[in-house]
Point group: C2
Chain length 336, copies 2
């Protein structure tokens, strides 16, 4: 079967992946890999942009994230998993792209702007951080991706990429580079167990794919529900109630969830009971993942081999793209 | 004989080289190549930073500059001449360095600041232009250069390079990278034929190494001297008199030059007579260069082969440096 689209997606290897990743992207990747040619990138160089003093962290998490990928069913026979730093052509292309983007345009990129504010870089804003949208444009275009699954906050990055693509193709009268379509995940973002909008490794509110059953139970039991729910018989709110948000995301039995919601809103359904159901539901999803993870993690050398082979495959594709780029730029001096 | 230092130097291939280059750097390179391991880089990617819409210009001048190198006596058996864009490891290293430098630091780099003002970039300042000191740091360190001949306006670039080197070596507890010493050319800068401080390709005031004898005669005859020199018998000024500056730079017979100066200052020596001497002196220097240029330019394929072989040699050195850099960063995942 001919693959329809070329997809690029990936993660920064700065910590193990969690249920937010599972719902927001991993599940999707497992579905996409049958019909499309999918590249999943371990973005170790991007991780370095704010872990410059801690490469060890990036190094260690590379394998963790790879275990997560394989555990959820990303299949290296269908999906090419590669490591960003192992593709020198991405750096070459990024350097060329830097000439096509103004500093002011980069500073106005919404995602960058937000992160600059959030992380309080101020005077300490590094060149690497400011230019990471350009690096991302190189990631996407080096494999000629046509489809990039993103969160809605990432849309401006794809727009930046396509601006570069159009400018390059126009300036050098070529169609070497491909514009990419962003596909925004339809699943609304999974909140953290504390009810905060975003589940995050660094926020301490995540359930990791690698958490064992006990840890999951403990985390669910501590979940944010309705703070006004004092007595079991009180009528309670569903809105912003994390436990129900999770049931909506993971419980296949939507009728039962609807019934539970009705009962909860009327009063007479205790948090503990709903949480127990969520624990069961989550473990039903996570148990097969855990099983596979155990198997996968028992052989790190085999996993490294998968990453190495995926990187080799990607490097060949990247070489071809760079060859065409250098031709368009007339920098192919020594080509026969 | 063991080579003492590793030298990196080079030019942007945006036009043929002129007598200013000869006096300021080329002559020096011919001397240095015997005692030191010298790399001369054709900085085509740096040339692209402000010729993004004209890669053809860069492409065409690559060979012109290479002809100039070989004509003045840079010997490919002693000096490694290479093309920047053919060394992907420079881009890889530059991308890593971007994390070690703040945007504000780059904006404060004096050379960059001056050029931003001069070229009136304003809102249109590209990321590529802002970041070229980082790219230069990668050029220098990828071959582990210990000595970089520069004009005094380039000193801040070497300081920037060494800042990166120190930060890298400190952060990653390594001594992989070498600090470089700047060697400022002792020869004062050759003025343009219009008397302006700097001879420049784009200023229209240059005598090119590839100019033939007629063109040189014509250019010398139009040279700026003492604007108050109306009659031959008038006493005249030597200071700021371009013809005498050139005689100082090129005439080996310093006694005769001293006599001419004295006569000129007393009065009774016409400009034309001094200019005729300069024409002779310049042609004595330039004729052997022209001869070699004719020979060299008759075989472009052989010159391209020299650049290709030099690039291959440099790539091997660069690969070794990157291997050590990736080890220091612990990004050498697949190394046996």
């Amino acid at each position: 079967m001919a693959k329809k689209e070329i997809i690029l997606t990936g993660d920064r290897p700065t910590g193990p992946l969690h249920l937010g990743h599972y719902v927001g992207s991993l599940k999707n990747r497992v579905q996409l890999q049958d019909e499309h040619q999918q590249y999943v990138m371990l973005a170790d160089l991007q991780a370095m942009t704010d872990n410059v003093d801690n490469p060890q962290k990036v190094r260690e998490n590379l394998l963790e994230v790879a275990y997560d990928y394989l555990s959820v069913g990303i299949d290296p026979r269908k999906t090419t998993i590669f490591v960003q730093s192992q593709i020198p052509q991405i750096a070459e292309l990024a350097i060329l792209y830097l000439n096509l983007v103004t500093v002011n345009r980069l500073k106005r990129t919404p995602t960058v702007k937000t992160e600059i504010d959030q992380k309080g870089y101020g005077e300490n804003l590094t060149a690497g951080f400011l230019m990471y949208p350009v690096h991302q444009a190189a990631d996407i275009t080096i494999v000629k991706a046509t489809l990039v699954p993103v969160g809605d906050d990432q849309l401006p990055m794809i727009e930046q990429t396509n601006e570069i693509v159009r400018r390059f193709n126009f300036l050098y009268k070529t169609d070497v580079l491909q514009e990419a379509k962003a596909v925004v995940s339809k699943v609304s973002r999974l909140p953290g167990i504390d009810g905060k909008a975003k589940m995050g490794k660094s926020l301490g509110n995540a359930i990791f794919l690698s958490d064992n059953a006990d840890v999951v139970a403990q985390k669910v039991m501590s979940m944010y529900t309705d703070p006004d729910h004092i007595r079991v018989e009180d009528p309670c709110k569903i809105e912003g109630n994390t436990v129900f948000t999770y049931l909506d995301a993971f419980d296949p039995d939507t009728q039962t969830v609807a019934d539970l919601k009705a009962q909860y809103q009327r009063g007479g359904l205790g948090d503990v009971k709903v949480k127990r159901r969520l624990i069961e539901v989550l473990n039903a999803v996570m148990e097969p993942i855990r099983e596979r993870r155990k198997e996968v993690a028992s052989n790190p050398a085999a996993v490294m081999k998968i990453l190495q082979e995926g990187s080799e495959v990607t490097r060949e594709v990247a070489q071809q793209t760079m060859k065409e780029v250098m031709q368009a730029l007339q920098l192919n001096y020594f080509e026969k």
